[in-house]
Amino acid sequence: MLSIKNLSVSIEGKQILKKLNLEVEKGEVHAIMGPNGTGKSTLASIIAGRDFFDIDEGEVFYKGQNLLEMDPEERAREGIFLGFQYPVEIPGVSMNNFLRTALNEQRKYHGLDPMSASDFIARMEEKKKMLDMQSNLTKRSVNEGFSGGEKKKNEIFQMAVLEPQLAILDETDSGLDIDALKIVANGVNKLRKPDNSTIVITHYQRLLDYIIPDVVHVLYDGRIVKTGGKELALELEEKGYEWLKEHAY
């Protein structure tokens, strides 16, 4: 599904990712862990298509396509979804209008007719129910005045509505209390399908109590220094990131 080879990335001359390699197969859940400032969010942004980075070398392929040549909207229409660490507030644009536009642009890209208003409402209701979400969020402007927890839940809701094939959740657990965390994790688990893949980026192990990953990677100083099964997350929790330094070089 996703294949990253030798990816080196910098911002204003500062190297952030260094010859990073990552392979994600269909149906897998990968967790990427690591201390702050090691390039986790940069990696997520690169996959989604932010353009203020310089790609120094390497390649990123998604479903056989060269991802680095695609616009962010094209990537989204091909099934990539980024759950933002800091979702952006857009006053004046209602969630309904926003999601309907997004959904219909995706449908148009795939040669489908726009979704009717009633089908759209049905889809929204179905996903709200699935995620135990309060319906009032969708009537408000995108993220405007939402609490931290509401913003993160809203990311999961958008993911549910857009039904991506590859979802990247960037620190979706940060700033959440345990109840909100459960709702978010529950959402991710319900949306898990044999054809879809998920990359969960997290600082803490606790999210992985609720979302059981197939593969855990540790990102440190711009490269993946360790890869293992779900037990790696526990080991990391126990020994701390300091323990990694010996693996890093």
């Binding site: 989604a48 298509g49 932010r50 616009d71 962010p72 909207e73 990537r75 989204a76 229409r77 979804f81 980024l82 933002f84 979702p87 952006v88 857009i90 006053p91 004046g92 644009v93 209008n97 926003f98 999601l99 536009t101 997004a102 959904l103 642009e105 995706q106 890209y109 402007s141 958008q158 857009l162």
Partner: protein, 470 residues
């Protein structure tokens, strides 16, 4: 005072016109109005037209528009015509009481001045001078200071007609009153139009001022509106400006508020050659609220200037100015918000904000929030921003599969929403919302079905906000 030769020539033409046509100009007057004319004429003779060496005009030059060869329609009168035939407002379910001016003169279907069942008087100002001289004497020229501004002086000297509205004490006018000012002429025209609105105590009024022009002739409309809002009254005032590129519109509005009154005024500028909105608000009693809002969407060479002056003359009042604009091509905008809090006006709350998005590097904005505070127990704030579209928000929207072009559209639309959402009449809000959307999409935003516009070549004009230039 330095003046250029072109200014002198139009000024001189105005001066000799006044002297030559005195009989005509003074024809319908009552005494106090004639007295004001003479004084204002003296003031204009001294001041002339505003020019860019004056602080309040430094970014709006009238030089070019004053150099045009204008005609004047001094010999006119309110006249009967089928108003609906020349102007048809197509805001769905928008039931208004419409009054209209054509080239500065009041036009009517039945009578030049009417009294509605609730006692409200609406009609021609020239006619009102004859029928209600006491009301005119009490309010006419009392709020618009002709010594302060050459254009106000000029209007006071020359204006013969316009719209008169009187709402008696205790009357809440249910239907919005729509004042339409149409310019339709085969020749270049310089027009002075004067409106007077008097609201009694505990009254309520919604006023919609539509400024349209349809010919490609050069027109200069020097409009002045005085509004007196007595105690405990509420005025909801909208200005909808859709002018062609060869038009100049000067819109001086003087709002005088007494205690516990509440005024909201919202200027929506969708097109115009050169537009200058001067809104003067005097808060002359305690517990007044004045909300002064504005939105401007301009492109090509269009220029819009919003000057607001709020005089907190008494304590315990609230004022809020919020203006937003999107500028494309080589368009330009000016915002000057001046709040004066006098020495004894304690517990004043006064806020102002102006936000702009520039879509090109040729578009310019001159924004000057300005607080002048002499009291010590007040809450005031001001702010101004000039920027591009938020890149983080752009990426967020695109990351959901929405094209760059639509993402820009959504953000521009969202930017305007803050002002549009303040329109309290639902049908009007929806209609203006549509017009804004169309304007942003690059379609013609002038009311589609309007007979006036449909029969006109202007329909072929394209108003574009060029998406590729962000």
């Amino acid at each position: 005072m330095e003046t250029n030769t072109l200014d002198i020539s139009l000024k001189d033409r105005m001066i000799s016109l006044f002297e030559d046509k005195k009989d005509q100009i003074f024809k319908n007057d009552i005494k106090p109005v004639s007295a004001l004319r003479n004084e204002a004429f003296e003031a204009f003779t001294k001041m002339g037209f505003p020019h860019t060496k004056m602080e309040k005009w430094r970014s709006t030059s009238l030089e070019e528009t004053l150099a045009k060869d204008y005609n004047f329609r001094i010999e006119g009168a309110p006249r009967q015509t089928n108003v609906e035939k020349i102007f048809e407002c197509e805001i769905p379910d928008f039931d208004t009481y419409m009054v209209a001016q054509l080239n500065g003169w009041y036009v009517y279907r039945k009578a030049p001045l009417r009294t509605l069942p609730n006692g409200t008087i609406v009609g021609s100002l020239a006619q009102a001078m004859q029928e209600y001289p006491e009301l005119i004497s009490k309010h006419y020229g009392k709020y618009a200071d002709y010594n302060e501004n050459g254009l106000t002086a000029l209007n006071t000297a020359f204006a013969q007609d316009g719209i008169f509205i009187y709402v008696p004490d205790g009357v809440e006018v249910e239907k919005p009153l729509q004042m339409v000012n149409i310019i339709d002429s085969d020749e270049n025209l310089f027009i002075q139009s004067r409106n007077l609105v008097i609201m009694g105590k505990n009254s309520k009024l919604t006023l919609l001022q539509c400024d349209d022009s349809v010919h490609h002739r050069y027109t200069f409309l020097n409009a002045l509106t005085e509004v007196y809002v007595d105690e405990n009254s509420t005025l909801d005032h909208y200005k909808l400006q859709n002018k062609d590129d060869s038009s100049t519109l000067i819109n001086n509005v003087y709002l005088h508020q007494e205690a516990n009154s509440n005024v909201t005024t919202n200027a929506i500028t969708l097109n115009g050659g050169l537009i200058r909105n001067d809104t003067h608000v005097t808060l002359n009693g305690r517990n007044c609220t004045a909300n002064v809002y504005g939105l401007y969407l301009v492109d090509r060479e269009q220029h819009v200037d919003n000057h607001v002056f709020i005089d907190h003359a008494t304590p315990d009042s609230y004022s809020n100015e919020q203006f937003k604009g999107i500028l494309d091509d080589s368009s330009s905008a000016v915002f000057n918000g001046h709040i004066l809090v006098r020495k004894d006006s304690q517990h004043t709350n006064a806020y102002q904000n102006n936000k702009n998005i520039l879509l090109t590097d040729k578009a310019t904005v001159d924004t000057q929030p300005f607080l002048e505070i002499y009291a010590d127990d007040v809450k005031c704030s001001h702010g101004a921003t000039v920027g591009q579209l938020d890149q983080q928000a752009m990426f967020y929207i695109r990351s959901r599969g929405i094209s760059k072009e639509n993402a820009r559209m959504l953000l521009m639309y969202a930017f305007t929403a803050e002002v549009v959402n303040k329109i309290s009449i639902e049908n009007l809000r929806e209609r203006i919302d549509d017009m804004v959307k169309k304007r942003l999409r690059g379609e013609l935003s002038i009311c589609d079905q309007c007979v006036l516009h449909c029969n006109h070549p202007e329909k072929e004009l394209k108003f574009n906000i060029d998406m590729t230039k962000i």
